[in-house]
């Protein structure tokens, strides 16, 4: 089977030091004919310089509207095992932590029902099981469920929330990203499994402004850890950094965006001007032993991030400068439900939340979801006077 197939172009990609996906496809092909056909189809794409998957296709498991992506090749006669080759998204554990037992369990289930090919992980964060027949969808889901796994999101629903490594391993984490991710995912199971919105919605949680899960770029709602008070500086540790040869003035102070740090080289002392600090994480990244985030911790909520399609890429912008992030996260859940209702009410088909706010205006969004306007929401105020005045404004000015 696999050994008969000629794949000269793909074989080129078995060479070189980086681990090879072609080698992985061949390993899967030794056990599974669909994986063998996939090698053939890929080689064909390399020859034709085009994809060979038909448009979409609606398949699923009982009780859910999402979690499965239908795929059918446009060359079913030549690659019969790819006639149906669907993807299943399996919701990952917070922070992508696994025991080998749990991973082996997934492998065993997948060996029985599908191609044996996976993505660890997909871009949104799910475990991706790549390639199965329609008739295998329900049995695979049943066994995954038995093993304690559930499906992730797809289509116009909440996509599987994801988070950084958080307090499990990072001293920078300003709230428990893993717990919040787990809590929200469980709270919003209906939104995750049954598409009901204008388009997809992503929530990502980063424990600090370093933003290791790219929440600001990739999530409609970005929850980024921060603090309200001031960084704390351990002068003994500062001295140790200085003695180790670090040029604190150049590496730390000169790169502080608001120049909020002052270094006395003689005394080897570092001080902060608290009201000038914007909490960007640079000094903490450079001197983790000497500088810690403040004590009053929580998160900034930003909204609207998405990639390019349709109305250009958006980065999320601030809608709540600071919110405490502690279980059961009621304040956040209440806010996100108000936002979803508003988006559902006003959004057009395939209009992400950020695009909707951009279309109808931030002022209207803030008013209708009940958020106060604060200067932290903008880099700078508008440069034009074209305000949409409301009747209540005239009352206020009388």
């Amino acid at each position: 089977m696999a050994e008969d197939r000629k794949t000269p172009q793909l074989d080129e990609l078995e060479k070189g030091p980086w681990p090879s996906f072609v080698k992985e496809m061949k390993r899967a092909a030794e056990k599974n004919p669909a994986a063998g056909d996939l090698l053939g189809l890929m080689e064909r794409s390399y020859e034709d310089k085009t994809g060979h998957w038909k448009h979409g296709g609606i398949v699923g498991v009982r009780g859910y509207g999402g979690g499965v992506i239908g795929r059918y090749t446009d060359l079913p006669e030549e690659y019969p095992h790819l006639k149906e080759f669907h993807t299943m998204r399996v919701n990952q554990p917070s922070g992508w932590f696994y025991t080998t037992d749990s991973l082996r369990e997934i492998c065993d289930i997948w060996e029985k029902h599908g191609s044996g090919l996976t993505n660890f992980h997909g871009s949104t964060g799910d475990i991706i099981l790549l390639g199965m027949k329609t008739e295998e969808l329900q049995p695979t889901f049943d066994e995954l469920s038995e093993a304690g796994y559930d499906l992730g999101g797809s289509g116009s629903d909440l996509r599987s929330p994801s988070c950084c490594v958080g307090p499990a391993r990072c001293e920078y984490a300003c709230y428990d990203t893993l717990d919040m991710c787990y809590d929200l995912t469980n709270e919003f199971q209906d939104e995750l499994h049954r598409p009901m919105w204008p388009y997809k919605f992503k929530i990502k949680m980063s424990g600090c402004a370093n933003d290791c899960v790219a929440a600001i770029a990739r999530a409609d709602c970005s929850v980024i850890g921060t603090w309200r008070d001031t960084i704390s500086i351990d002068q003994e540790e500062v001295k140790k950094y200085a003695e180790s040869g670090m040029n604190i003035q150049r590496v730390v102070c000169d790169k502080c965006p608001p120049r909020a740090l002052e270094y006395d080289a003689e005394k080897q002392e570092l001080t902060v001007i608290p009201e000038d600090c914007t909490r960007c994480m640079h000094c903490i990244n450079m001197m983790p032993k000497a500088i810690q985030p403040g004590k009053e911790k929580g998160a900034t909520i930003l909204l609207g991030g998405k990639s390019t399609i349709v109305k250009s890429a958006f980065m999320s912008w601030v809608i709540v400068p600071f919110m405490k992030m502690e279980p059961p996260y009621d304040e956040f859940k209440d806010l996100i439900r108000r936002i979803w209702d508003w988006w559902d009410e006003n959004g057009k088909t395939r209009e992400r939340l950020g695009e909707l706010v951009y279309r109808v205006g931030m002022t209207r969004f803030l008013k209708e979801v009940g958020l106060p306007a604060v200067p932290q929401m903008v880099f700078r105020p508008r440069a034009n006077p074209y305000v949409f005045w409301q009747p209540e404004d005239f009352e206020a000015h009388k």
Binding site: W18, M25, G51, S102, W110, L130, G148, I309
Partner: protein
């Protein structure tokens, strides 16, 4: 029959004991060597994370291999990173070197920490996507082979985050990466009127076009495209299979640079288009590999320590970047979509 809405497995059951014990109580971390992080807890406990590169598209036997490694050296605990690396987790310092040796023997490179090139996050490409302008896994493999030295070492000016998306949908979200490799379509969709008549909601299809290039054609019970308005985003194809956007002759790759998501020092930045088109040239895409290497090497040569690609370019100016990198500036690098004005130089200060 599966139980519905049980949610993901509880992450707490997958944490190694040293993490459970020191959860939220970490004091600091440092870099032992490329690919090895050491986290020290307030209790004095130490956790080593050994980071290995993965092709992301892997077989279950690959997963079983890494499970064997984690069983032998890490009591069965491991995790994955947001950039698809594997991280082996152990509190036993004596396991670190033997684990590294065992990984390298299996062809798993150790690296990707600190000021290095981490794994390239990427999309499905020809393996499983229905709108790709190019492959993803193949280009990633070719680029990582070429830049391998930068994964294995950590003395770049700063972190280097490369991302690859095989079409403008960007399900890989490459738009805030130091270097973004992006599949692009360049020709107007070819309409299959039969498919449109059979099962397409025409108003939804018309509304899906961001530039209003698609008009209803009631006589024909289909649509027409005003060619000069189309910028080939492919949103219409997602609405209807009758709007074929893939074009083997003319699809290819664009390169964008200078994005970042971290807030450290400078605010997050979008990647900017510097090379509008490179040909699709499988299996190793030499033009793309060369273009990425050139940008990396130019950055390494000219950036100051600690400067991400975008920070370096913003300091020296984009006009200098094009000169230093010897990339011809094209009219296609000037934005003419909806947020263009903010990119125009409204100042009389610049360099040559």
């Amino acid at each position: 029959m599966a139980k519905l809405d049980i949610g993901p497995p509880d992450y707490r059951k997958n944490l190694p004991p040293v993490i459970t014990k020191n959860y939220g109580q970490w004091k600091y971390h440092d870099y032992v060597k490329p690919g090895v992080l050491r986290h020290v807890a307030k209790s004095g406990d130490v956790l080593y994370s050994i980071r290995a590169g993965s092709p992301r598209l892997v077989s279950i036997d690959f997963i079983r291999d890494i499970c064997d490694l984690a069983d032998t050296y890490c009591n069965g605990y491991l995790r994955f990173t947001s950039r698809h690396n594997i991280e082996f987790l152990t509190d036993d310092a004596s396991m670190v070197e033997p684990l590294i040796e065992a990984c390298e023997a299996k062809g798993l490179p150790i690296g990707g920490t600190g000021a290095s090139l981490s794994n390239i996050v990427h999309t499905q490409g020809w393996v499983h996507c229905h709108t790709p302008a190019t492959d993803a896994s193949g280009i990633v493999k070719a680029v990582m082979d070429d830049l391998f030295e930068y994964f294995k070492t950590d003395d770049l000016p700063a972190r280097l985050r490369v991302a690859m998306a095989c079409c403008l949908n960007m399900c890989g979200a490459v738009h805030c990466s130091d270097i973004a490799i992006l599949g692009v379509h360049r020709t107007v969709p070819v309409i299959d009127h039969d498919i449109i008549r059979k099962g397409t909601e025409i108003p939804t299809l018309v509304a899906s076009c961001p530039t209003g290039a698609i008009r209803p054609d009631p006589k024909n019970k289909s649509v027409v495209i005003k060619d000069e308005n189309c910028m080939y985003c492919g949103n219409c194809y997602t609405m209807s299979p009758g709007m074929q956007i893939m074009d083997p002759e003319n699809d290819g790759i664009a390169i964008l640079v200078g994005g970042k998501v971290s807030n450290a020092r400078t605010v997050p930045m979008f990647s900017r288009l510097v090379i509008p088109f490179l040909p699709n040239n499988p299996p190793r895409w030499p033009e793309t590999v060369e273009a990425v290497r050139n940008i990396v090497e130019t950055w390494v040569r000219h950036a100051r320590k600690g400067e991400r690609v975008g920070e370096w370019i913003e300091r020296i100016g984009w006009e200098r970047f094009f000169t230093l990198a010897n990339i011809p500036f094209s009219d296609k690098c000037i934005d003419d979509y909806i947020f263009s004005r903010e990119t125009f130089r409204t100042s009389a200060t610049f360099k040559y």
